[in-house]
Symmetry: C2
Subunit: 404 residues, 2 copies
């Protein structure tokens, strides 16, 4: 049986323990929702304020040059690249994750125009599914949506694009990137990975993958609605046709040419003028990952997840663990099923353990290796046990909210 | 002949004079580039800081509900609507202006699928032109780009969509919204207006127009790269098909349905999760316009522009005025031609008069009625006269920069 001392020992030998100090987390709060909104890195407010007051307010238009606003998106992209195993020049930053999915899938479809299907799974995040249907409708394809465990079998020469979220936002189930990429390569299909629930929490290697997108506001901690990113494998960059051609993706934006000429590399995936406030916050947030080995993130993530599940088995008999048991089949969050998920989470939050719910019956707990303490796993489970044993949850309001 | 006292008198009787106090402009700077990046409203830094520290940092995920992040974009949209003569529920906010153009033009094209042309003019902003070609390519249309003064004559039953920027970013020439709308209506074509160089500087009435987009960071002063907006006439809302269907445009985003169902009204033009930092800055910046009659903005804008042009005629014989002479044919900025535009602007900026340049030979001066003092027109022209008479500009570096 595990006890609290076990977790205290893990914290004392945690090579990433110091990263926690980079964050501004409220005292006494156990925040297990960084898979929805990453917490605030402590130095971000000063960076944002300087950008607003000194740059926008005082230096005004010349800040585009003097303070590097113009190439900020490209610098942020270069910082994200190593977190997903991508080479320089292969990532672009900007827009929302949904728009990034649209661009990547539409561009992939253009490279496989004569095939019938865009393949996805039923566990994909709804906004990804909506975009896939839009692209299919516009490009004369059909969306084939299959259960996650059937994806590999359904990759065939009829498939133009395979669009999958690496880690399922509900269950935490993880696809195998090498297996899907290999099957797609054999069938001549292209893969677009959505790394929103992976990047920043585990090691991801896109070096053998075609395309990817990801979210800036979950494990990258870039702030609410932070810009997204898009990855284009070097072999696809020359042929990448951004469906939304804008001046930020032009080879010479300030030539103000009337005809579009795409920029070299992944920069052609850019479109229009991005929010500088959003970009500086994400840029500063990425400081946390400077010098961090993504494999160390993964090792810690696996420990946190394994221990959480083991404690649920030992101490929370009220719940069914929905997340896969095998470490190589899951990401960095744990989902528990209970018919009263909403009320239980509300009561848990009253006891300062913050996760979220996914209708109809899932409680979701994100375990972020960058700032989570191991002992928080123990304390969270104990708090939830208290909720269940006291029946506190029966009096709590059902909680729903805008969390992804 | 005008003199400085004339302008001082105008300021003393300016009904909008107090608005200037809402902005944080550096002492002694004459900022005539608000058509590229609007200046900082003084209260924005505190609002942004509170959002970062108290909401993101302390309240974390529950800020989506507790601090109204979730419907912030819709509230900002409702504040922009009266600035363009649009009714409630007809504006959506988010993404970049380029993405907004893409959505509006693609949706308009879907409503006129069998016509051959997307009509625009050669003075349109390059990013708009790039997007039009993308939509045309994807939707089987052709872009017809004609000189601005030929647009009205070229609107025919072959035209699906007319896409124009209301005020030309280079020359300041303005299209007549009623004339273009009437010609399009007669021909059965749909019009998409880009109001980027109009909104916030003049009264715009979209009540008889089909679609529009606009920019948040020029005369709306929402900060660098602020979110864009899109307007959909009520009669087109039910048929508006957003080409980038995302969860923020879904009728019930948190139902997490696998099939897309569009939200009612213009909200269906939304796509993905927007930057909250960018939205709160724009929201706060719009406070400046609370209770301001847009016709008063237009009256002041016309006075500023007319006086600037008159002073150029009287005191700056080195320049050709490119902006139209007729008040109803121009917007709120003035463009002057000179072969050494770059060096002259650099020297002007050294004397604390900030405009910008458009290659190859245009100096551009934005005159923003919300914060410009009339006397700045006199002082700016005198500073430029000093530059020309001293030959200071011959030693200045040529200035180029990322300004739209």
């Amino acid at each position: 049986m595990l006890d609290r001392a076990y977790f205290e020992d893990l914290d004392s030998s945690d090579p990433l323990a110091d990263l926690r100090n980079a964050f501004s987390l409220p005292d006494g709060l156990i925040y297990l929702d960084g898979n929805s909104l990453g917490p605030l890195p402590s130095h971000v407010p000063a960076v944002v304020q300087r950008t607003v007051v000194d740059e926008w307010g005082h230096d005004l238009i010349r800040s585009w040059n003097d303070h590097g606003w113009w190439d900020l998106a490209e610098r942020v992209a270069e910082r994200i690249a190593p977190l997903i195993g991508a080479p320089p020049g292969s990532v672009a930053v900007g827009d929302t994750t949904t728009v990034a999915v649209y661009k990547a899938v539409a561009a992939a479809r253009r490279l496989r125009p004569d095939r019938r299907y865009i393949l996805t799974d039923t566990g994909n995040f709804p906004t990804d599914l909506y975009v896939l249907h839009a692209v299919a409708d516009q490009a004369g394809a059909e969306v084939m949506s299959v259960p996650p465990d059937q994806v590999l079998d359904r990759i065939s020469p009829d498939v133009a694009v395979v669009s999958l979220t690496h880690v399922d936002y509900r269950t935490g189930r993880r696809h195998s990137i090498p297996d899907v990429d290999a099957a797609a390569r054999d069938a001549g299909a292209l893969v677009v990975w959505d790394l929103s629930h992976s990047v920043g929490a585990m090691d991801v290697d896109m070096s053998g993958s075609d395309f990817a997108v990801g979210c800036g506001y979950k494990y990258l901690n870039g702030g609410p609605g932070a810009p997204a990113f898009i990855y284009v494998h070097p072999s696809h960059q020359a042929g990448f046709r951004n469906p939304i051609t804008g001046w930020w993706g032009h080879a010479e934006p300030f030539a103000m040419e009337s005809a579009y000429r795409p920029a070299p590399g992944a920069s052609r995936a850019q479109t229009g003028t991005q929010s500088i406030l959003a970009l500086v916050a994400l840029d500063a947030a990425l400081d946390v990952f400077d010098g961090v080995d993504t494999r160390a993130l993964r090792v810690k993530s696996e420990r946190l997840v394994a221990d959480f599940i083991r404690l649920v088995d030992e101490r929370l008999p009220w719940f069914e663990v929905v997340t896969p048991r095998a470490p190589d089949q899951r990401g960095s969050h744990v989902s528990l099923a209970h018919p009263e998920a909403g009320r239980i989470m509300a009561a848990s939050i009253q006891r300062r353990v913050v996760g979220d719910v996914r209708p109809p019956n899932l409680l979701r707990f994100g375990l972020a290796p960058a700032y989570q303490r191991h002992v928080e796993v123990w304390d969270a489970v104990e708090a939830i046990r208290g909720v269940m044993e006291s029946d506190a949850w029966r009096h709590a309001p059902e909680r729903t909210g805008p969390v992804t």
